[in-house]
């Protein structure tokens, strides 16, 4: 285990510091997953997309909803273009932004929004890819959105304050996204090797960027929720995200 840890840190440190001045979120690039795995992740994604679209069809009877969804996808895209300094390795990376969309739009709709944002990222920025769109949406959209949503809901139900619930929902979403991506990569590239050693290697190799980014995503979610609660509390009340007006944030 120590070997793996050292390997992970040293490899990433060398690569990031000497080869690139900017690291990115951990989307799987085109070509990394073999065809069968790329296809499998698309299959996993389909039920979530189908149900998400069903929900969108119901919600978009109000005209406000479609521009709102489009803007949410654009926001996830815009945020992912913003470089955020990563303290440990001295580079920049970016958060996913799906935790906020999951809390406000609901997890199924958030999956569709993440799918659209990832498609745009694959086309405009080469972050992720077309063949890996299924895998990336499963990790960021499905796992990220659902965990963010339920973490926030459960923590609010047991009476935890908005910023703390927001922080943990962002943190859990980001780290779970990263753990799922590590699993997807390990499954895709393992060949005849054993799964778990490879999974740990991949997971540890990306810790220096993803660990602080998870904290950043948590801080970001907490700040956004607090800001909205202070300026437009009716939005949170409408979405059932706070129990009563005047509640301490």
């Amino acid at each position: 285990m120590r070997k793996t840890i050292f390997f992970g840190f040293s490899s990433l440190g060398i690569l990031v510091i000497f080869f690139l001045d900017e690291a990115y979120g951990m989307h799987i690039s085109d070509g990394i997953l073999p065809l069968e795995w790329a296809f499998f992740w698309y299959l996993v994604l389909i039920p979530f997309i189908v149900y998400g679209i069903k929900q969108i069809r119901v919600k978009t009877k109000e005209l406000l909803w479609k521009p709102l969804l489009g803007l949410s996808a654009a926001l996830v895209f815009a945020i992912s273009c913003m470089p955020l300094p990563v303290p440990i390795v001295g580079t920049c990376s970016h958060p996913c932004g799906t935790s906020i969309s999951a809390i406000f739009l609901g997890p199924f709709v958030s999956v569709v929004v993440a799918f659209c944002a990832l498609l745009l990222q694959a086309l405009f920025l080469a972050h992720g890819g077309l063949s890996t769109l299924g895998a990336n949406t499963v990790s960021m959209g499905v796992i990220g959105s659902f965990l963010a949503y339920f973490t926030y809901r459960i923590m609010r139900e047991i009476g935890i304050r908005i910023p703390i619930a927001g922080f943990f929902s962002g943190l859990v979403a980001d780290w779970a996204t990263y753990a799922t991506t590590s699993m997807q990569i390990a499954l895709g590239i393992r060949g005849e090797n054993e799964f778990f050693p490879l999974f740990w290697k991949v997971a540890i190799a990306f810790i220096p960027t993803q660990l602080p980014i998870g904290i950043a995503e948590g801080a970001m979610t907490a700040t956004v929720l607090t800001l909205i609660y202070q300026r437009r509390p009716e939005i949170l009340l409408l979405k059932n995200l706070v129990h009563e007006k005047g509640e301490k944030p």
Partner: protein
């Protein structure tokens, strides 16, 4: 008097002709090419495809940095993966010992080759997607998606997102630069708070903007459906061109 057109410009003009190809055929060709890349097990085929499309991209794009920028993220991920793959295998190349940490690492040639094959496959796929993206306008792409029966909701979200991406990115960049100039990112804690405020401000703006957009669109007769360009019948020329392209890919794959 005849002006001498530089070689690159002439080649670029020729490559630009691919833009006239039907977007449905472009998407089909790109997907077929990526599928062949994903099933390929050796280094040669993806390497050839990568070199070919990279040359095309350098000819096509005005500034070579654009191509390099697009390849940065895949390169980052791939280099990490090559390193990881090199540490497992059967044929040992060399070992590194770190007595200070009481650890040693062994690198394997078969693992390295496997890693390089994955890297070639990934770089070739990225180059293919980038090339076809350069050849297809976004609205052509959306029309083709609509023809391929991608749900209308997804296509419409993409239209709205595309419409606002640049506005939002511009706003986000302006806020980010002004925060940075006020030392908003001078420490880790400050940076996280500043980023939260940036994201929160943007989120508030999109809420306001979506209300405005919905209102102005409904005043202009928007009933919840955006009109999309309907693509006509596929021309024989486009089908033949696509078939020839795929045959060439198959021929390289079989080599």
């Amino acid at each position: 008097m005849r002006f001498r057109i530089p070689m690159k410009s002439r080649l670029r003009e020729r490559l630009q002709r691919f833009k006239k190809l039907d977007p449905r055929m472009k998407i089909f060709s790109a997907f077929t090419c990526i599928c062949f890349l994903l099933v390929s097990k050796d280094f040669f085929f993806p390497a050839v495809i990568f070199v070919f499309f990279l040359i095309c991209l350098f000819i096509l794009v005005q500034r070579p940095e654009t191509v390099l920028n697009q390849l940065r993220e895949p390169i980052f991920v791939i280099m990490v993966l090559i390193f990881i793959k090199s540490l497992s295998g059967k044929e040992e190349i060399f070992s590194m010992t770190f007595p200070f940490l009481k650890m040693s690492f062994t690198f394997y040639s078969d693992g390295f080759i496997e890693g390089m094959t994955i890297a070639a496959r990934a770089m070739a796929s990225v180059a293919v997607v980038f090339f076809f993206k350069e050849m297809t306008s976004f609205f052509e792409f959306l029309s083709a998606l609509s023809w391929y029966k991608v749900p209308r909701e997804i296509v419409e979200i993409l239209i709205f997102a595309d419409r606002f991406i640049f506005q939002l990115t511009e706003k986000a960049t302006k806020i980010y630069i002004s925060q940075r100039n006020r030392l908003g990112y001078s420490g880790v804690k400050k940076g996280f708070i500043s980023f939260g405020i940036l994201f929160g401000t943007l989120f508030m703006r999109i809420l306001e903007q979506s209300e405005k957009v919905a209102l102005s669109m409904s005043l202009r007769g928007y009933d919840g459906k955006l009109p999309l360009e309907s693509l006509g019948k596929l021309s024989k020329r486009d089908i033949i061109f696509t078939a020839v392209f795929i045959l060439i890919i198959v021929w390289f794959y079989k080599l």
